[in-house]
């Protein structure tokens, strides 16, 4: 099924407030899903006999922020964080990309991580992918059974893939740079 068909199925089930009026055009078109409904949408995508997206290829965060004031005019995105889900149906052999957009910081308080519901109950692999997104991108996945850092050490400060991340000058007496 192509992206228009998938979107029509989702629109019929969830309505425009959840999945937007139409898919976004790109090389890989995507559907934007409201953060609060991602678990229901995910479960539906996995179980509906027309869709059967049983394989989560990838889950990652993207930080949209331009720190250089000279380039900000050309940047073309409002500052925000995206969680991108790439799905495949191994049975029906079709692909889907869905996105959840959240503010960079919860309630615009710097340091308060934005919250996205966890889909680790829908696809088991999301457990590790979400831990990685939390570790590197700083997204709080609510309802995650074990949201700990996975690649960085447990006592690491900050989320390295954020565009405004400050590189630490030393870690346990080891100098950086």
């Amino acid at each position: 099924m192509d992206i228009q068909g998938i979107h029509a199925v989702l629109l019929e089930r969830f309505g425009e407030a959840v999945v937007g009026s139409q898919p976004f055009k790109a090389i890989d078109p995507w559907i934007q899903v409201a953060a609060a409904s991602i678990v229901e949408v995910g479960t539906f995508l996995r179980d509906d006999s027309r869709l059967l997206f049983n394989h989560l290829n990838d889950l990652c965060g993207v930080d949209y922020l331009e720190t250089d004031p000279k380039k900000q005019a050309k940047f073309g995105h409002e500052p925000h964080v995206e969680v991108v889900y790439h799905l495949t149906s191994l049975k029906l052999r079709h692909l889907l990309k869905i996105k959840v957009l959240v503010p960079r910081w919860k309630d615009d308080v710097a340091g308060q991580l934005p919250v996205v519901p966890s889909v680790s109950d829908v696809w088991s692999i999301a457990n590790w992918h979400e831990r990685e997104a939390y570790d590197l991108m700083g997204i709080d996945f609510s309802g995650h059974p074990n949201l700990r850092r996975i690649l960085c050490p447990e006592d690491w400060v900050g989320h390295p893939l954020r565009k405004d991340y400050d590189f630490p000058l030393e870690y346990h007496g080891v100098r950086g740079h």
Binding site: I27, D58, C60, G76, H86, L90, I125, W128, L161
Partner: protein
């Protein structure tokens, strides 16, 4: 007065062993790198197995945001360093998809030839080290002897033996060499042509002919070996449902009986490479498997890899005449400082260990806004806790080894 025991069975139940936490790794020889497994054991039996990763984290994704795509190619080598050619190919294809580049026909067949040779080399290491995990040393020596020849041939094509950076955006950095001096290793193995200069493609053909005969020996050494079967069959069973839910890919997924290979079922930019090639995709269960084997166990995963070597040989054989007949250049030029369009792509390719994905977000600049490398081994190793429960401690290396992980790719 002597102590009376009313019911002797009570004493038996009273004898208990304490639960113990055992750290296996990160510097353990059978964890294939710096993987640390935290095992909760009751005597010999493992109840819980928690993998801890990140010891080889080199910030590959952050580095990618600060480099242009051609500069990033050498970093992809260092992800899965045992199949660096396939990593190069995956990243190059993702960028080509982003900028909408068509690769010349000659480059396509060159890529198939090189990528499948890389697959053979990678599976040979997988086979050899799996033997080491199970305590047999000789398959490892044979596997590395064969792999050495492939490395010699790769060295002739691009000068490097491990981190090639050969397949690049638009094709490859060089064309294949016309004529090379016969590698000493291969000349010694087949007992002729020492010091002779032969056409490169002919040397590959000589090597494949020789390798094909060796595969029967590997099957005698490992696949059909009684000790090997009793260590692998029925052990570490990964059900198809679990494999799909945990995002397992590659031989691990096909070993569990799910028929999915991106070379056939992937996106058109990737499957176009393999158009006109005739190859099979080995999927468990196998008719010729020993009786003890169950679907999705260690043996199946291992056997899928062994059969994939045979298919890779077939593909290389088909690529040779196609490459010879193909016209055009080996490379479509790509500027070092070319601007990436404001768009984003995700592309997965079938690397030897599973589906390697690259997600590139361009934003009108030379460097991508975000570069994400989705690792196949990352997903494959996440399943260890599920398949290691209730097995003896000594079988942990057998199960982890059958997943064939490379830590460089997991931690990136």
């Amino acid at each position: 007065m002597s102590l009376q025991i009313e019911d002797p069975r009570i004493v038996e139940f009273d004898v208990q062993t304490d639960e113990m936490l055992v750290n296996m790794g990160p510097q353990h020889p059978s964890t294939h790198g710096v993987l640390r497994l935290l095992l909760r054991t009751d005597g010999e039996i493992v109840h819980e197995c928690t993998p801890h990763i990140g010891y080889l984290h080199r910030c590959a994704e952050k580095i990618g945001e600060n480099l242009s795509p051609p500069q990033y190619i050498p970093y992809t080598d260092r992800m899965d360093y045992l199949a660096a050619m396939n990593m190069n190919l995956g990243f190059a294809l993702a960028i080509e998809k982003l900028i909408g580049m068509e690769v010349p026909e000659k480059a396509v067949h060159l890529r198939v030839l090189i990528a499948e040779m890389g697959r053979i080399a990678s599976h040979l290491v997988g086979m050899g080290t799996y033997g080491l995990d199970l305590g047999t040393f000789s398959p490892f020596l044979y596997a590395f002897r064969e792999r050495e020849i492939i490395l010699d041939l790769f060295e002739e094509t691009c000068g490097a033996r491990l981190t090639y950076s050969y397949l690049t955006i638009g094709g490859a950095t060089h064309d294949l060499p016309d004529e090379i001096e016969m590698p000493d290793g291969l000349a010694a193995l087949i007992g002729k042509h020492k010091g002779e200069r032969l056409p490169f493609l002919e040397v590959i053909e000589i090597f494949l002919q020789w390798l094909e005969l060796r595969i029967k020996e590997y099957h005698t050494l490992l696949t059909r070996n009684m000790i090997f079967i009793s260590r692998t069959a029925g052990m570490g069973i990964l059900t198809p449902e679990m494999a799909v839910s945990y995002g397992c890919t590659g031989p691990v997924l096909r070993g569990s009986g799910v028929d999915f290979d991106l070379r056939r079922d992937g996106e058109s930019i990737y499957t176009r490479m393999y158009e006109g090639y005739d190859f099979d995709i080995p999927v468990a269960p196998f008719k010729d498997a020993p009786r003890e084997v169950a679907l999705g166990d260690n043996w199946c995963r291992f056997y899928v890899r062994m059969l994939e070597v045979v298919q890779a040989i077939r593909l290389v054989r088909q690529a040779i005449p196609k490459y010879k007949a193909a016209k055009g250049s080996y490379r479509e030029p790509f500027k070092m400082n070319a601007k990436l369009p404001k768009d984003e792509v995700y592309l997965e390719t079938e690397a030897p260990r599973g589906q390697m994905g690259f997600y590139v977000v361009g934003n009108g600049e030379g460097n991508p806004l975000r570069l994400r490398a989705k690792s196949s081994c990352f997903c494959n190793v996440s399943v260890t806790d599920q398949i290691c429960q209730g097995v003896p401690l000594a079988d942990i290396p057998a199960i982890v080894g059958s997943l064939d992980i490379v830590m460089g790719e997991i931690d990136r």
